[in-house]
Symmetry: C2
Subunit: 316 residues, 2 copies
């Protein structure tokens, strides 16, 4: 019998940037916005019932087993052997298919909310697999915990070993800001993944892990110049950049304005730029946006520091 | 005209461990011992003359252009447009072909010594290419600055970009010790390099750079448990371990005694183990040694913390 602390709660979980330059498949970090809200209401009927989906989620399925939040909740209820059910309201406050971890935000908001209902809440380590169950729908079988881990833990994380969920926090400079721009074009993650080669030359791999090391040192010592030198992706960017219109012009605009690195968020189409301080991040965001505008591509700009908190209770 | 500060000097430069687990081709660190000594005496005759080689260097050539120290010195004299010459004495205090950066120690000792003679000494950044000229003899053309950089800069270094000599210091825990054991068997670097594959699977590369990131975080936050989890080499170790007799038994002995990671130094045959504190490092060194002893393989054990100073003037 699971004891409950409360009967309803509303939770926000943030968008996340995964891959992060040379850190393909191993790095992720959380933004302050955008993100998703999930409201849960305990009911007497066992199982998960999705009552409402609003915001940008108009096309998402209401059947719990096909919905990322629904599936994550059901797997957690099953493990808890809960004798109650949940009525779920999902408020998508971010674009789907944006490369900003939209499905991770819903899954994490859902399991974090259910956890907040419990008298004896579980640790993040125990919540992670439930949130990943939700991701399974979006990822088409292959589970990449980068978005989910960054969203749930907050901050900047390393997925050292995805099979054992060995997630390590990387300290970041307090004045590190990120300009994220989402162009309104569609890239399917599983398609973007198919663009990748299965093998890579040893020298290219060495360059990549040298830059990964450089990036970690840069973040941990607030060395923005080293960050800029290190934030190159030899492996995924060359293949994936072709899916994002005007990629080279976007990158050039960001770096010329003084960004400390530019890259694709997740598998795109969103792009991000690291900047020292909020004013510069705003300028860089505007410079990236203007390249999209000139080419008549609608877009959203988000400016955020690293969200160290992760998900949070809004009310309930 | 180059102004001199003194006419002779004796310098010690340390042995180094390169590759360092998952950090293939990008990490290196300096030991306190063993190492090489080089004594220089200014002469009126231009050019480099090697007067004496003692210690473990019985087979090294006396012709300056074929000797690592000699060649490094000559390239530096040429660049300085020196109107004087040098008489060189080399005291090899470490085994050649050990995987401990023997040629780097000689080259670095030589250029560091010449630099110490100058009224206006050059920066380490400017010395590095001269020391690498010496390495060219040992490396057979391909230049890998890992040993030279670790030896010259001291400490634990990342070679972020070998083409621009972008060398970054990685802070390490003050109680990090290393047990190094050199078995008296021979491995030629260029042969060991041939054992490596030119391509590697993307998943293997991802595992490697995840561990590289984990290792940097572990060193910078004194997280010995993370160091142990991260210090795996998926790329070079499987191919190179077969050249070192009883490799698996050595590794098991070190880890069972409590080492925070075990690997091949450079291209071998020396092996190293990281340990928290001097007493543990001594125990681990003895455990590794005993595996060699049981198999009647002669060996030397060196116990050292990370040598943050690099080369040093002994007298002159």
């Amino acid at each position: 019998m699971i004891a409950l602390h409360r009967e309803n709660v509303r939770v926000f979980a943030p968008a996340t940037v995964a891959n992060v330059g040379c850190g393909f498949d191993i790095f992720g970090f959380a933004l302050n916005e955008p993100g998703d809200e999930v409201r849960l209401q305990v009911t007497d009927n066992p199982g998960v019932s999705i009552a409402k989906i609003s915001g940008d989620g108009g096309l998402l399925p209401y059947q719990a087993q096909h919905n990322t939040a629904g599936r994550a909740l059901q797997s957690m209820l099953d493990t808890l052997q809960a004798d109650f059910g949940l009525e779920v309201e999902i408020r998508k406050k971010m674009p789907i298919g944006s490369g900003l971890g939209s499905s991770a935000a819903s899954s994490v908001a859902a399991v974090f909310a259910l956890n907040a209902l419990l008298k004896e809440p579980l640790s993040n380590e125990r919540l992670l697999p439930f949130a990943l169950e939700g991701e399974r729908i979006a990822a088409g079988g292959a589970l990449h915990p980068d978005n989910v881990a960054a969203c749930l833990y907050g901050g900047f994380v390393l997925i050292r070993d995805k099979s054992t969920y060995d997630i390590i926090n990387i300290p970041t400079p307090p004045d590190l800001y990120c300009a994220v721009v989402h162009p309104r074009i569609e890239i399917i993650t599983s398609e973007a993944r198919k663009m990748l080669k299965n093998q890579l030359p040893l020298q290219q791999a060495i360059t990549q892990w040298a830059n990964v090391a450089g990036m970690v040192i840069a973040l941990m010592t607030s060395d923005y110049d080293l960050l800029r030198r290190s934030l190159h992706d030899e492996v995924a960017e060359p293949d994936r950049a072709v899916l994002i219109p005007h990629y080279e012009a976007l990158k050039k605009a960001a770096l010329q304005k003084g960004a400390s690195g530019f890259g694709i968020s997740g598998s795109g189409p969103s792009v991000f730029a690291f900047c020292k301080g909020l004013p510069l991040a705003k300028k860089v965001g505007a410079a990236i946006r203007s390249v999209f505008q000139e080419n008549e591509i609608g877009n959203e700009v988000y400016i955020s520091d690293i969200n160290k908190q992760g998900p949070k209770i809004i009310s309930g």
